[in-house]
């Protein structure tokens, strides 16, 4: 058991070393609202920043975050060229409500589904909301857990930092 723990510690230390380099997206399939499948590494924004926001229809702060950003999304896009991907972790209980909710909310985001948490686990998301910011090479340069009013400003600052 002690050996095991040592090994884990070693692995953990190594891992901290390797996070010095930028992190890319894991190769995991997600579902599209059209019933298709897509590998998350295939998302594109012509070299502009990408925001991936994990959310669920049953998560109040998630919806608050995405609704707040929706009001200023056009401005953000004009200013920085950013694209927001709303990644729903709704399971099959609430998954069917995602498309109607998104449409009714008038969101212009790209929306994908991760009904059994495969991408969520691969990206180390334990609670929602959890937001990742990707640079032009689709490397994760910043992430943030949770949402309280005003957090969108910090996100915008981070986007502005890396926007061309």
């Amino acid at each position: 058991m002690r050996k095991l723990l040592l090994t884990i510690t070693a692995v953990a230390i190594l891992s901290t070393l390797s996070i010095a380099q930028n992190r890319t997206l894991p190769s995991v399939d997600v579902k599209t609202l059209n019933g298709g499948s897509m590998n998350i590494t295939a998302i594109e924004n012509d070299g502009n920043p990408i925001v991936i926001s994990f959310w669920a229809t049953w998560c109040k702060p998630c919806k608050k975050e995405l609704n707040t950003i929706a009001e200023v999304y056009e401005d953000w896009q004009d200013e920085t060229g950013v694209k927001l991907i709303a990644l729903s972790i709704d399971d099959t209980r609430t998954m069917t409500k995602v498309a109607p909710y998104v449409n009714a909310s008038d969101w212009d985001y790209e929306v994908y589904l991760d009904p059994n948490g495969d991408l969520k686990r691969a990206m180390g998301v334990s609670t929602v909301p959890h937001t990742f910011l990707l640079n032009s090479k689709k490397e994760i340069v910043w992430q943030h857990k949770g949402y309280v009013d005003g957090d969108e400003n910090e996100l915008l600052e981070q986007i502005e930092k890396i926007a061309k």
Binding site: I8, G35, S37, K60, P100, A104, M123, S126, G146, V148
Partner: protein, 557 residues
């Protein structure tokens, strides 16, 4: 022993790969810690624990390098929080895997999570909040022969706590996206899927014939045309008796489930109507085992509420038999209209109704009636199949709720909710019929947030639940102060002023504060938790009351 060896091998591989390809591989993961102290509180019947403090912790490590990925999860329960089954005990690495993808073929060995369709016949998943983790241990192949056709097969054993079930689970699934595979452009998109799962467990019963390979099939269809979206799934589970030696114990009937939903949406408007009918569909990884061994998932057909008093009496699927319907409407009143105001108004309406199937009678060896049943049952003396629509269905759950969200001005946002719920406490909490009956409640909620200055927001929640049955009426108030981007503080009080037992008219006060920075979140709290039913995703468990401090750390890298 074998487990230990394979573990060590996984770690060794991880380490070697890391050294060998230092520049191209990546490590990442996340860490969670939940610690709670338990003090005695006679009023709320909270029991102290001998350990004073209980603790759950998890560390996930994933390594990826091109098409290869491997990882493990270390879990530590010293000892497990009272919300968890105490079979979660000690430390271990119950989850480790390696996977690679080449030319459309993905091979996974070790642990994995998998789901077929909606999960009616198989779902292996984790939910830390509920202490559910029925991960598979085995191998899985996924293959995309041509664009639009997705095949997968897997074999393995399901995890329960720190052990693996006796039953061997084999599964296969094929999904065909007709548009993609036949390569035609059309406004109508059609996706069909067919899944299969089989469990092997040897027949050890000297008295009754038992099937050793239990099969379950499901077929699904999804049609999308513009704003319209239909999806349906039908599943059958073949004879799966529990292997009892008693005359009435074994049920050889086939189970089945049907779910169907139709949605329409356009900008600013969405509607979705759903139904499901479930009959004898509980599927476990071992025939003689209990709920902790369930390996399928029947989505609950009610709204997943987040406000405390709306979720006080939550619904859980009765996978042995129920008929449910649900309608959701989302509507955004346009900006600038009379009702919409400057920013628009969002309205969502939800209705759900869950009932039992038709009731029948179970007979003993002498053809005497012994029990009322409400799902398919078949043995040497009884053969009952409920009709598709039942006339005498008993109400399990009913919920009508309306939510209005409005941004009033630049500084103020408000949400108002009205709901009426009926909750069959006996059925949904597994009590003897007639113990509590049905709790009817009326709930009103107001949630207002106000921006004091840039980054500083105060939010107030007022909730009221009026009910005669159950614990009677409740009030709840919450004040939350958040300072973006780092801090939050919250105080809440739940007051059970309407409890019929005057001594139980208690306040449950909680204080929480937390600090967030990037990918780290730390929160501490102090307060009383009421005993109750706690549900996520329609799966519920009873949690005991508690009084004490809590510490939560969540971090990812």
């Amino acid at each position: 022993m074998i487990k230990k060896i394979s573990l060590t091998l996984t770690i060794a591989c991880l380490t070697i790969i890391c050294f060998a390809q230092e520049n191209s591989g990546e490590f990442h993961g996340d860490f969670d810690l939940n610690m709670q102290s338990y003090q005695e509180d006679k009023l709320i019947e909270a029991e102290p624990v001998d350990e004073i403090i209980l603790n759950n912790a998890y560390l996930n490590i994933n390594y990826t390098q091109g098409n290869f990925a491997a990882g493990l999860r270390y879990e530590s329960y010293l000892n497990a929080l009272l919300d968890f089954d105490d079979d979660y005990k000690g430390n271990g690495i119950p989850f480790r895997y390696a996977t690679y993808t080449i030319d459309g073929l993905e091979v996974t060995a070790g642990n994995y999570y998998e789901q077929i369709g909606s999960g009616l016949i198989f779902r292996s998943y984790e939910n830390k909040g509920l202490g559910i983790d029925n991960a598979m241990d085995g191998v899985r192949l996924k293959y995309i022969p041509v664009k639009g056709i997705y095949l997968k097969t897997f074999i393995g054993k399901n995890r329960t706590y720190f052990t693996y079930s006796d039953g061997i689970i084999r599964g296969a699934d094929a999904e065909v996206n007709l548009n993609e595979s036949l390569n035609f452009e059309s406004k109508t998109k059609i996706i069909v899927g067919q899944g299969f799962v089989s469990r092997f467990q040897a027949d050890n019963n000297p008295k009754f014939k038992l099937p050793q390979n239990i099969a379950a099939y499901s077929s699904r269809l999804n049609i999308i045309n513009g704003g319209w979206n239909y999806s349906g799934e039908y599943a059958i589970k073949l004879n799966d008796p529990i292997g009892s030696l008693t005359a009435e114990g074994n049920n050889y009937a086939n189970g089945n489930a049907l779910m169907s939903s139709l949605a329409y949406s356009q900008r600013g408007f969405g509607i979705i109507a759903e139904m499901h009918r479930v009959d004898h569909m509980e599927f476990r990884s071992e025939r003689a085992q209990e709920k902790q061994y369930i390996i399928n998932y029947i989505p609950t057909l009610t709204k997943q509420h987040t406000y405390t008093l709306l979720a006080l009496y939550p619904c859980a699927t009765q996978s042995e038999g129920e008929f449910g319907t649900q309608v959701d409407v989302f509507y955004k009143i346009k900006k600038g209209s009379v009702l919409g105001g400057k920013y628009g108004t969002k309205i969502s309406f939800n209705f759900s109704n869950i009932r039992s199937l038709e009731k029948g009678v179970k007979y003993d060896t002498n053809k005497n009636e012994i029990e009322e049943i409400s799902s398919s049952f078949k043995n040497d003396y009884t053969d009952f199949t409920p009709k598709f629509f039942s006339k005498n269905g008993e109400l399990f759950f009913n919920d009508i709720n309306l939510e209005i969200y409005k941004k009033i001005n630049k500084k103020m946002k408000a949400t108002g909710i009205l709901a009426r719920q009926s909750y069959n406490k006996d059925v949904l909490e597994g009590k003897t019929p007639g113990t509590y009956g049905t709790v009817n409640s009326t709930i009103a909620i107001a949630d207002v947030s106000y921006k004091i200055k840039e980054g500083h927001t105060v939010r107030v929640e007022l909730q009221e639940l009026l009910a005669d049955g159950g614990d009677g009426s409740w009030s709840m108030g919450l004040v939350e102060y958040t300072i973006s981007p780092h801090w939050f503080f919250a105080v809440q009080d739940m007051y059970n002023w309407g409890n019929h037992d005057v001594e139980k008219q208690l306040h449950y006060v909680n204080i929480n504060c937390g600090f967030l920075k990037g990918a780290n979140r730390i929160a501490i709290g102090y307060g009383k938790k009421r005993a109750g039913i706690f549900c996520v995703g329609g799966v519920c468990k009873e949690v005991p009351s508690a009084n004490g401090f809590s510490l939560t750390i969540s971090s990812s890298f």
